[in-house]
């Protein structure tokens, strides 16, 4: 993408950027220590829903922004799936123009306050920062700074709504309101389309609402970003399951010319071990949905949830960390992670594992459940656990867990949350017989345009294509798809 490189060069040689670069020696910049994120006290936060990370203050943000040396070839951008103009927004922070920094973020990312909180930065932008690659020093805290600028703008009351091109009458549909769908709808609205987002649940936001807990991503923040999309003219239809409430054919007959499918990976996997259907054993989706979406822990709400004393969460991903930390907050005496590999192989964000440990979560790594036992009412009371060791790397490159025979023992548990992964939501694929899907149920698309291999009017992205990924990868897909849809519609219009 040559024009992007040229654009970045031109931006970098602007007067204000030259000046700020010269204002401090590189040596001085690289000798500064990375900012640390202020956090709520672990013993307070593990009993409430307060946000764990409390955010940088202005002075610290400016100090951290000074660390960025404004590289001629900013490799950090390659690590960001939505291509945020990272040095540009950071330098705006350095000069103290925080609102301008937020505008830079919004050029390419509709949900900066979300990404600044939940991106696995250590694997993305920060992994390809000059500091990481060349200096072997802690990277610039890109994620913290992103969150800072987005929060500053939101709290300032001066948030701007991105401009939309003169509205066209062409109707496009977005299926699913998770990050993939929200990113696609933002870009489509900017391009001037008449966008409707269809969402099966009663709330908009996908996993951002029903999955990721309040203490990591407050719902207000998600709602604020959704409100921005509304202001850009995006329409939202909740309680609408595409493929059931109306078929794609019905929607086509209603005038929708192209579709973006961001229906996510909402089908929970179980381990199929004896006793797994006893009461008190949940999928992490059910456990987190009851607590986050239905507010089950609040007695004012009608949905019940079981809050156990001895809670075991099976798995080592973000979902497992969110579940176990939720259990602790619901009053568990013992909240433990049971994970079959070692901490090194854990897919969860490093920060979540650290936070979990501070909050008093027990980690039983290299352990795996074999069977559950229940009391006479059918409520789980204990689990048989086996110890594991690591063998040779498997296809995923991670070392394979091998059971140690004879190492089994029983632990008391009254709640178990199974968090061993999800599969793609089958409702859309099942309602489109011509759609090409893989053996794993993901939709096959062109990786640049995100267009379906067999149905030109259908585009897809996020977990329904990747099987399970991250917020920012889903958003990157949504943005690519919006561009792909624009091209498809323009060509179709020309042909007619």
């Amino acid at each position: 993408m040559e024009n992007i490189i040229d654009y970045l060069k031109a931006e970098r040689s602007q007067e204000w950027r030259n000046e700020i670069r010269k204002s401090m020696k590189t040596k001085e910049r690289t000798s500064k220590v990375r900012a640390s994120m202020p956090e709520a006290d672990p013993e307070v936060r593990n009993k409430s829903n307060v946000e764990v990370n409390t955010g940088l203050d202005k002075d610290i943000a400016i100090l951290e922004a000074q660390r960025c040396i404004d590289c001629p070839t900013p490799t950090c951008i390659d690590g960001c799936p939505v291509g945020i103009y990272i040095p540009k927004f950071i330098k705006k922070i350095e000069v103290g123009d925080f609102l301008a920094a937020a505008s830079v973020l919004k050029e390419t990312n509709g949900l900066p306050a979300v990404c600044g909180r939940v991106c696995p930065q250590e694997k993305q932008c920060e992994a390809s920062c000059f500091y990481t690659l060349k200096l072997n020093k802690p990277p610039v805290a890109i994620g913290y700074l992103e969150r800072f600028a987005a929060d500053y703008e939101r709290n300032s009351g001066k948030a701007t709504v991105p401009e939309v091109a003169g509205s066209s009458k062409v109707k496009v549909a977005v299926v699913g309101s998770g990050p993939a769908g929200l990113a696609a709808s933002g870009d489509l609205a900017k391009l001037g389309y008449d966008v409707t987002v269809f969402e099966a649940l009663h709330e908009i936001g996908g996993v951002l609402k029903y999955g990721i807990p309040e203490f990591r991503l407050p719902n207000d923040i998600v709602d604020f970003e959704i409100e921005n999309l509304r202001k850009m003219g995006v329409k939202f239809r909740n309680n609408f399951l595409v493929g059931k409430t109306a078929s794609f054919e019905d929607l086509k007959a209603d005038g929708f010319e192209a579709f973006f499918v961001g229906s996510g990976a909402g089908l929970p996997r179980f381990m199929n071990i004896p006793g797994e259907n006893y009461n008190g054993i949940f999928s992490s989706n059910e456990y987190l949905t009851r607590v986050n979406l239905m507010n089950a822990a609040n007695p004012e709400f009608d949905t019940p949830v079981i809050s156990g004393k001895n809670v075991a969460v099976i798995g080592g991903g973000n979902t497992a960390m969110d579940s176990v930390r939720t259990a602790k907050r619901l009053g568990a005496k013992r909240a433990m992670i049971i994970y079959r590999r070692s901490e090194e192989e854990m897919p969860a964000r490093v920060e979540e594992v650290k936070h979990a440990k501070e909050e008093g979560i027990e980690f039983m790594n290299l352990h795996n459940p074999l069977e559950y036992y229940a009391d006479e009412t059918g409520r789980v009371k204990s689990a048989k656990i086996q110890k594991m060791k690591l063998g040779e790397p498997d296809a995923s490159g991670r070392r394979r867990p091998i059971p140690i025979e004879g190492s089994e023992f029983v632990v008391d548990v009254d709640t178990v949350v199974v968090s061993v992964g999800v599969s793609p939501n089958p409702i859309v694929p099942a309602s489109l017989s011509k759609l090409e899907i893989t053996d794993w149920g993901t939709i096959v698309v062109d990786k640049d345009t995100m267009q379906s291999s067999t149905m030109p009017e259908i585009f897809a992205g996020g977990d329904i294509v990747r099987g399970g990924a991250t917020v920012i990868l889903a958003m990157g897909d949504g943005r690519k798809a919006a561009a792909g849809m624009h091209k498809y519609i323009q060509e179709k219009t020309k042909a007619n």
Partner: protein, 278 residues
């Protein structure tokens, strides 16, 4: 938001509610259900679509008051709105011409049975329907059932209407009398369990519609899971109808009791708030 167009009580605790939901009315088939939620703090509750009217854009639910949400729904009046309604959910009943179909409904299971009876009749089957209830006042939808059944047998526990006895007695009588090709049983879990045992004795292919606890109804949470033929299935997307002879009813009944204490406490609390208002 869906407006309530009509409401009619069949008995003290059972009412018919007609809701404006044009898209659902257009897409639904027998066997489908909706999930409703009342108010911002409400829970999501599944209810079968008993019938629909494409012209009016309406769907009909038949609801039995058993706890907080059903009580709240039956308190709403014509003109009020139900906050959230999503559907149609689940797999539609597979309806074809098989010969003679024995349909058995108990309690509020009679409501979901109605569109199935109608469907099988329209497909050219001989349909015999057994309706079971504790007592005369709890027999619902009899007239509608008669319209689409070749014969309706009514069984009450106390003998105040129809014949005295259990649903299984009524079923067995028919099976002994004539050749039955298929059976559909919908009602409380315990009734479905014994109904299924009855038809199994005679090797009659039988379907039941399971009313497990649900949250999302789209296959996302697994709350509705139940063991069928030794495999875990999700009632909201794989069902709600399953081969009756494969269902693990013991497990299903156990799972339905998961929140019994909390539900009971919540209902008592809800009744308490009503009294203080009144």
């Amino acid at each position: 938001m869906s407006k309530i167009l009509e409401k009619e009580f069949f008995s003290e605790n059972v009412a018919k509610i007609v809701l404006l939901a044009p898209e659902i009315a257009r897409s639904r088939k027998p066997g489908h259900f909706v999930i409703i939620k009342i108010g911002d703090k409400g829970e999501r509750v599944p209810l079968t679509i008993a019938s629909s009217d494409d012209e009016k854009g309406s769907i009909t639910l038949v609801v039995q008051k058993v706890g907080v949400t059903s009580a709240k729904l039956l308190k709403l009046e014509v003109g009020d709105e139900v906050t959230d309604v999503v559907g149609p959910l689940g797999k539609a009943t597979h309806i074809e011409k098989v010969g003679t179909v024995l349909c058995a409904g108990g309690g509020v299971g009679v409501a979901p049975l109605m569109p199935i009876v109608e469907g099988f009749k329209k497909a050219g089957n001989r349909v015999i329907t057994v309706l079971a209830a504790r007592t005369k006042d709890l027999v619902i939808l009899e007239e509608q059932m008669r319209k689409y059944s070749d014969e309706v047998i009514i069984m009450t526990d106390d003998g105040t209407y129809g014949r005295q006895g259990l649903v299984t007695q009524g079923m067995e009588e028919v099976i002994k009398r004539e050749k039955v090709d298929m059976s559909v049983i919908i009602g409380p879990a315990i009734m479905m369990k014994f109904g299924a045992l009855t038809t199994k004795k005679y090797n009659i292919k039988t379907y039941v519609s399971l009313n497990t606890i649900m949250v999302d109804g789209t296959g996302m949470c697994g709350a509705c899971r139940v063991s069928v033929g030794g495999k875990t299935r999700f009632v909201c997307v794989d069902g709600p109808e399953f081969d009756a002879h494969q269902v693990d009813f013991g497990q299903m009944m156990m799972r339905m009791g998961a929140y019994k204490d909390q539900e009971y406490a919540a209902y008592q609390k809800y009744l308490g708030t009503l009294e203080t208002v009144a």
